[in-house]
Subunit: 153 residues, 2 copies
């Protein structure tokens, strides 16, 4: 299952990574220079995965300390939160990389970005419909096995 990897618990501010400089929301320790393990803990992704995201172009190039260690900014955190959402949609990594490329390419790609997101949106709606279809079957069968699905949820 693609389901819930615990992405970024504890965020309360509405996120707004949209391409062009959103006002950065100060994060946990407010330094704007987080190590990879801090970011890993904060996002729920592994450090491995964060490096991998950078390698495949899913992260804009991350700042480095004078000795070459990664220092993530609040902006990077915002981006990762958004990427986490895209991942939850079921969007393949290749498409997320494409989106990241468009973001790097600047404003001229607004239209294509919108299209990509709208395609994703349609996919999500289709998937929800599909899941609702399976719910019907599941409920039918659960009824068959002698108990109603729990009323609450």
């Amino acid at each position: 299952m693609i389901q819930s990897t615990p992405v970024a618990t504890g965020v309360t501010t509405p996120v707004d990574v949209c391409t062009v400089a959103p006002p950065a929301h100060p994060r946990p320790d407010g330094q704007d220079r987080y190590t990879i393990s801090e970011v890993a803990a904060w996002t729920g992704l592994s450090a491995h995965t964060l490096r991998w995201y950078e390698r495949i172009g899913l992260m804009p190039h991350v700042d480095r300390s004078h000795t070459g260690q990664r220092r993530f900014t609040n902006r990077d955190l915002d981006w990762l939160v958004f990427v986490g959402k895209l991942r939850l949609t079921g969007m393949p990594v290749a498409a997320m990389v494409r989106y990241a490329e468009l973001v790097r390419a600047g404003e001229s790609t607004f239209e294509e970005r919108r299209e990509l997101l709208e395609t994703t949106r349609r996919d999500v709606l289709a998937r929800i419909a599909e899941l609702n279809g399976t719910l019907a079957v599941l409920d039918h069968k659960i009824g068959f096995y002698g108990s109603r699905p729990p009323a609450a949820d």
Copy 2:
């Protein structure tokens, strides 16, 4: 994406594979002895996948012709339709195999089967909630890119 593999288009009868002999619904050519390629065409699964399902125990053992070729019955078709639904829920194959084992084990496993399906149901609800969450983000961002999401759907 796990999404829509075209599973069994053209089914109109409500399916009811539930374990204990449901009245078989006559299928397309009404012979009750379909070759693997007929079943592949009918379910949208590949012949490879059908053989693989049998190998891993996701299919009850399929009838054979006197020379050893598979001959699927309407019952098998019903089962495959149901398995297709389970697959759409995002249930891992291993869990579907577990369910198939329980079915083979007989009535004493009703309770465990019900639990398995209810767990799956909860997973589906959670996934739908997750997807609705992504829709909110998607819509926000699509609005950001200068056009509202299409009104219809």
